[in-house]
């Protein structure tokens, strides 16, 4: 049976506010699903529930047939869920290479090796450098993460997830705030990942041109509820999406939706 990621009636409440409301959805490999919706629709919260940063109030999450609803974030990462965060979430005073090396270390289970200096672990270093070259950060490897430009920090964030070699890639607005010339590096990476038909890729994205070019499927969240799910052309054309999110003029829609 191929790998699946499934949420069943997934719900989280913050006091009286239901941020994610009974979302039932199945994700399959070889399919890039874009998750769209206005700001505050619960997209990032939905991600946080799946990757374990938040615990569901009710409902369940099944990964590869196993119920992971009760598992901690580290356990889910070890099971193969990879997450890149929307707000840059790095190790600021460690170098770019050290950031990635830590992810490589986590992926290959080097958790408690305390008797050898890290330079002896050429395998970790080589792998980290390879990933940095993929995201075009090779020349910045010795710089502290905090000294990177915003765009480079976003790329590093993606590099950390790649280093984990996950089965599920969860991108949360990977190109937000990037300058125009930096965007293609990340988009090409995602397009490359799509070639591997064994991976599940989830992408939260506001830019409709990006969604159109990459997504095989779009789901729409609105006020925490799943309101549309289907092929990009159908979803974008559906009245509920036109009304809830896309509007007639996308630029003003994004502004007024906030």
């Amino acid at each position: 049976m191929p790998l699946t990621l499934e949420t069943r009636d997934l719900t989280i409440r913050f006091g009286g506010h239901v941020a994610v409301n009974n979302v039932t959805c199945t994700f399959r490999p070889g399919e890039l699903t874009a998750i769209v919706g206005p700001n505050g629709a619960g997209k990032t919260t939905y991600f946080n529930l799946i990757s374990g940063q938040l615990r569901a109030s009710s409902g369940s999450i099944l990964f590869d047939g196993i119920d992971i609803t009760g598992q901690s974030a580290p356990m889910r990462t070890r099971a193969g869920l990879g997450r890149a965060f929307q707000l840059t979430n790095l190790f600021p005073n460690l170098t770019v290479e050290e950031n990635v090396r830590l992810a490589v270390q986590a992926a290959n289970g080097t958790h408690y090796d305390m008797l050898r200096p890290w330079m002896v672990r050429r395998d970790l270093i080589t792998r980290a450098d390879g990933i940095l070259d993929q995201v075009a950060l090779g020349s910045r490897r010795g710089v502290a993460a905090t000294a990177l430009s915003h765009g480079d920090q976003r790329k590093l964030e993606v590099a950390l997830m790649m280093a984990l070699e996950p089965k599920v890639f969860m991108f949360d607005e990977p190109t937000a705030g990037m300058s125009i010339d930096e965007v293609p590096v990340v988009l090409n990476l995602i397009a490359q990942l799509k070639q591997d038909l064994n991976k599940i890729i989830l992408l939260i994205e506001h830019k409709m041109d990006v969604v159109r070019s990459l997504a095989d499927r779009i789901i729409v969240l609105h006020n925490g509820q799943l309101v549309a799910d289907g092929r990009p052309a159908e979803v974008i054309a559906s009245p509920i999406v036109q009304e809830a999110y896309l509007g007639v003029a996308p630029k003003t829609a994004a502004g007024s939706a906030a």
């Binding site: 460690l94 270390q105 050898r116």
Partner: protein, 361 residues
């Protein structure tokens, strides 16, 4: 330089200072005559290791512990009680080590698993509570610990001052059991500092730094951080207990004031901050500066005060009176924290880094 685990001092001045301190400590028995100099040197060795182990916690993982003197005390008392109860033989030394080290490590394991799951402040509070309880316990169980008086004991024959190993007419100076004990303290402290340097520069050590930087992200990468923090706590506790063992062996005594008092905890904190957190090397520098000041500032001031009054200067003799030494020590600390917020090591490294940076561009 694999002995330094690939983490050299990275500053010429810092290297020079470290080499000077280590050479001075290594040669103290021959360079500086008298019991006081040797006592001060032994204390610097013990505290350098103790402070380095605290740096592993504070500087590398960012967790604040107030139980470090407790582990130091466990080591001290274990060896003291064993030698007091079993007599001055090597079996007693071994018993003290075999009981003291695992006891400290197990206690650290329990505290860590219990309190490192949640916010850092909780760990600080728990360590404070456990350390206070231990202090009360040590003074109450006087049949075992000697209460407020502590326990004095004798060392095995080989380590006693009366044991002459190399007589004076051979080299011109005598090597006795006291000097052998000093070198034991020196060597074990040095080994422990090198071991800590290895731990902080290992892949495991990088995870500790990652947790300090962003624990949330470390968890998201798949690290179960509570275990990393707990292991670090156990390592730090074991080194602290070993330092306690060395201290008790050197003093031939363990008591509340020398091994458990809360003022030792404050001293450790000051030394780690003065030397530079998250560097390990800072421990050596912090311990050397602090203990030298603690021991010699008073006599230095006595000399200065006398000179000032003989020269007929107003006000100065009073200000420099030896009784005011704590005031000056305090001012020294405020000044050092103000001028070296990253500690002596951080300051020297930054200065060196700026120079080499401008040279390469």
């Amino acid at each position: 330089m694999m002995i330094l685990s690939g983490d050299p001092p990275r500053s010429r001045v810092l290297t020079l200072v470290l080499v000077l301190i280590i050479l001075a400590l290594a040669a103290t028995p021959f360079l500086f005559p008298g019991a006081k100099a040797l006592n001060v040197a032994a204390k610097i060795c013990v505290f350098a290791a103790l402070v380095a182990s605290y740096d592993l916690l504070l500087g590398y993982t960012g967790s604040v512990s107030f139980a470090h003197t407790m582990f130091y005390g466990i080591g001290s008392y274990a060896i003291a009680i064993a030698l007091y109860g079993m007599g001055p033989n090597w079996a007693a030394v071994a018993t003290g080590i075999v009981i003291g080290l695992p006891l400290a490590a197990l206690l650290a394991l329990a505290i860590g698993l219990f309190s490192l799951r949640v916010a850092a402040i909780f760990f600080a509070m728990i360590t404070l509570a456990v350390a206070s309880a231990f202090q009360v316990l040590a003074s109450q169980l006087s049949w075992l610990t000697g209460g407020e008086d502590g326990r004095s004991f004798q060392l095995p024959e080989l380590l006693r001052p009366g044991t002459v190993l190399v007589s004076k007419n051979l080299f011109g100076f005598e090597i006795n059991g006291r000097i052998l004990t000093y070198y034991l303290v020196f060597a074990i402290s040095a080994l422990m500092i090198l071991a800590l340097l290895r731990v902080v520069n290992s892949p495991f050590g990088r995870v500790l730094q990652a947790i300090r930087e962003n624990r949330f992200r470390a968890e998201a990468l798949g690290f179960r951080t509570v275990f990393h923090l707990t292991y670090a706590n156990c390592i730090a506790a074991s080194v602290a207990a070993s330092a306690g063992i060395l201290n008790a062996l050197w003093l031939r005594y363990a008591g509340p004031d020398t091994s458990l008092s809360f003022s030792i905890m404050l001293d450790i904190l000051l030394m780690v901050v003065i030397g530079g957190m998250g560097t390990i090397y800072g421990a050596i520098i912090g311990a050397a500066i602090f203990i030298l000041a603690q021991n010699y500032l008073q006599s230095l001031m006595g000399v200065a005060s006398k000179a000032a009054s003989e020269a007929g200067l107003p006000l100065l003799p009073g200000l420099l009176h030896p009784d005011r030494w704590l005031l000056w020590l305090g001012l020294l600390f405020i000044a050092s924290v103000y001028f070296f917020p990253t500690g002596v090591v951080g300051r020297l490294r930054n200065a060196g880094g700026a120079k080499s940076g401008s040279a390469s561009h």
